[in-house]
């Protein structure tokens, strides 16, 4: 497998170098290095418990590193507090959506832009941009988000992350628990975001979908990167097919 950051490429937007992460004595991620070049979609696939969410949390600053470093645009952000990283351009749509349940769709979106401190007029415009991407949210703008379906909540979680005007969008299992038709919708939106130039780091157990949209992909097993390649290479790889695509795909 070839390394994604070939010699001629510019420094990647996100560079995770030799990162290890632990919950107390339990080591969840060991010596992981990944690179996300600007304008590309990078996928991390792996089984449940492989350490994907842990890695994304660390990138957002929700978990301290026990080793290695994280660089954004060349700057070391390894110890930057979580609430300051969004201002550097990192936004996460977390696993399981985690919308603020008692707040309305519009309020959730506005909270996504909290750090930008926009005027109400600019805030409204930004909210409308999300409604253009996810029209179903518009009809529900004044509903508490707890009343949304799973798919709508996923759209809201992505929209809320986009409200931060990120340079790097992290998506943690956007397909989790959703019906196939809804998953298709979500991935269509991801493809549109990719085509508009957004840099995306996508984590998925649904390996076939993630690999299909990814420029580069990593396989994470038991907290270690075991394979790297282009999305297409990994889609064709017999080991990946056996382990993650299984029968029926």
């Amino acid at each position: 497998m070839t390394s994604p950051s070939a010699s001629s490429a510019p420094a990647p937007l996100l560079e995770v170098q030799g990162v290890s992460l632990a919950y107390g004595p339990i080591v969840a991620v060991r010596d992981v290095s990944i690179a996300v070049p600007a304008g590309s979609v990078v996928a991390i696939v792996g089984a449940n418990g492989a350490g994907k969410t842990t890695l994304l949390k660390a990138i957002c600053g929700l978990l301290p590193l026990s080793g290695g470093s994280i660089r954004l645009d060349g700057a070391d952000i390894s110890t930057l507090a979580a609430h300051k990283r969004v201002g550097c351009g990192i936004a996460l749509s977390p696993e399981g959506r985690q919308v603020f349940p008692d707040q309305t769709v519009a309020d959730n979106l506005e909270l996504g832009a909290y750090w930008r401190n926009l005027s109400q007029k600019d805030l409204d415009a930004a909210v409308e941009e999300q409604f253009a991407i996810f029209p179903r949210l518009k009809e529900r703008r004044n509903q508490p988000s707890v009343t949304l379906s799973g798919g709508e909540q996923q759209m809201l979680a992505i929209g809320r992350a986009l409200m931060a005007a990120p340079r790097l969008l992290l998506l943690d299992e956007p397909s989790l628990g959703l019906a196939p038709l809804i998953i298709k919708d979500i991935f269509k939106a991801i493809v549109r975001l990719r085509d508009s130039g957004m840099t995306i780091l996508l984590v998925e157990q649904m390996a076939n979908l993630a690999l299909a949209v990814a420029d580069t992909a990593y396989v994470l097993e038991n907290g270690r990167v075991t394979m790297t390649g282009t999305g297409q290479e990994l889609l064709r790889d017999p080991k990946v097919r056996a382990a993650y695509l299984g029968a029926g795909h």
């Binding site: 979580a82 609430h83 936004a91 008692d102």
Partner: protein, 309 residues
């Protein structure tokens, strides 16, 4: 009729203070998942700080007041509002201190160390209070005067109306801030999910400090509001905080509006039962609380009923 009116007015006044302090419990509970067990001492501290400010203001205006029984003029004009403001500022700082000293060191840890540390902080505050002011209760004049007014045969103290109105205005104001303002929505985001709130760029620690400061301000103002009715004592807060806490539990600790309702309910019950038989007051009230919790473990408006929505 006149006794009923009297009962309702005094119930709403005491209930207003219970509601204010029940809300203050809810504010720290929702944002930090901790409670300030020094809240009772903060109520008393608010009352005594307020009296001290009134005393100093009276002294500055040239009269030689007696601290234990200030003249009505000491609370007149802008003096009482100034005292409220001063109490707000000092208690806000006290809230910040208790967060840093008694909550922050244990944040994110399992266990109940914060229970002991906030109780300990309260005992320190009370002991300092005893050293400064001594144990004797102090009469506090109402800014509206202490003459009982007669409405439809009922004798009503002006302070009772003031307490109810101020508590209500404060709570409606806070409710609106929490629902409509950017900072209120951010605070609710921290309450719902601190990790995800941090992802929005919200400084979660600052919000938690703010929650403790706000909660303490409410406790202090509650103490200064009730003092003209009960007289100020360093042991005044314990009972009030316990009733307020009961109101919060009955209404649902995680539901601010439920807590306000619970506080008023307790105040009204208390004055109703006291009218019937003062000795049975506590027995009936706490019996009812236990019964409510047996039927609705999360309180009347707690998370359980919300989940069903």
């Amino acid at each position: 009729m006149s006794t009923l009116l009297q009962l309702v007015v005094s119930g709403l006044a005491v209930g207003g203070v219970y509601a204010l302090i029940a809300l203050s419990f809810s504010i720290t509970f929702t944002t930090t998942k901790t409670l300030n067990f020094a809240q009772g001492e903060f109520v008393a501290a608010g009352a005594f700080l307020g009296v001290t400010v009134l005393y100093l203001l009276a002294k500055m205006s040239g009269i030689a007041p007696n601290f234990a029984s200030l003249p009505v003029s000491a609370s007149a004009g802008v003096n009482y509002p100034i005292a409220v403001l001063a109490v707000g500022v000092v208690l806000g700082v006290l809230g910040l201190l208790i967060f840093l000293a008694a909550i922050r060191p244990f944040a994110g840890q399992s266990g109940m160390n914060w229970v002991m540390s906030t109780i300990g902080f309260g005992i320190i505050v009370q002991s300092l209070g005893l050293a400064i002011w001594g144990p004797a209760p102090v009469n506090v004049p109402s800014p509206l005067g202490d003459d009982v007014i007669r409405i439809m045969g009922a004798g009503i103290r002006p302070q009772e109306i003031l307490v109810f109105v101020v508590a209500l205005v404060l709570m409606i104001g806070l409710d609106q801030v929490m629902r409509r303002s950017r900072i209120g929505k951010a605070m609710r985001a921290v309450a719902a999910n601190p990790q995800v709130a941090a992802l929005m760029g919200i400084n979660v620690t600052a919000m938690m400090i703010g929650a403790y400061a706000l909660s303490s301000v409410l406790a202090g103002i509650g103490g200064l509001l009730i003092a003209p009715i009960t007289s100020a004592s360093l042991f005044l807060g314990m009972g009030i905080a316990l009733k307020a806490f009961s109101g919060a539990i009955v209404g649902g600790l995680d539901n601010p509006r439920g807590c306000i309702f619970g506080g008023f309910l307790l105040g009204l019950l208390e004055s109703g039962v006291a009218l019937w038989n003062a000795q049975w007051r506590e027995i009936v009230i706490f019996g009812l609380i236990i019964a409510v919790l047996a039927i609705r473990p999360n309180g009347l408006f707690g998370a359980r009923s919300l989940d069903k929505v």
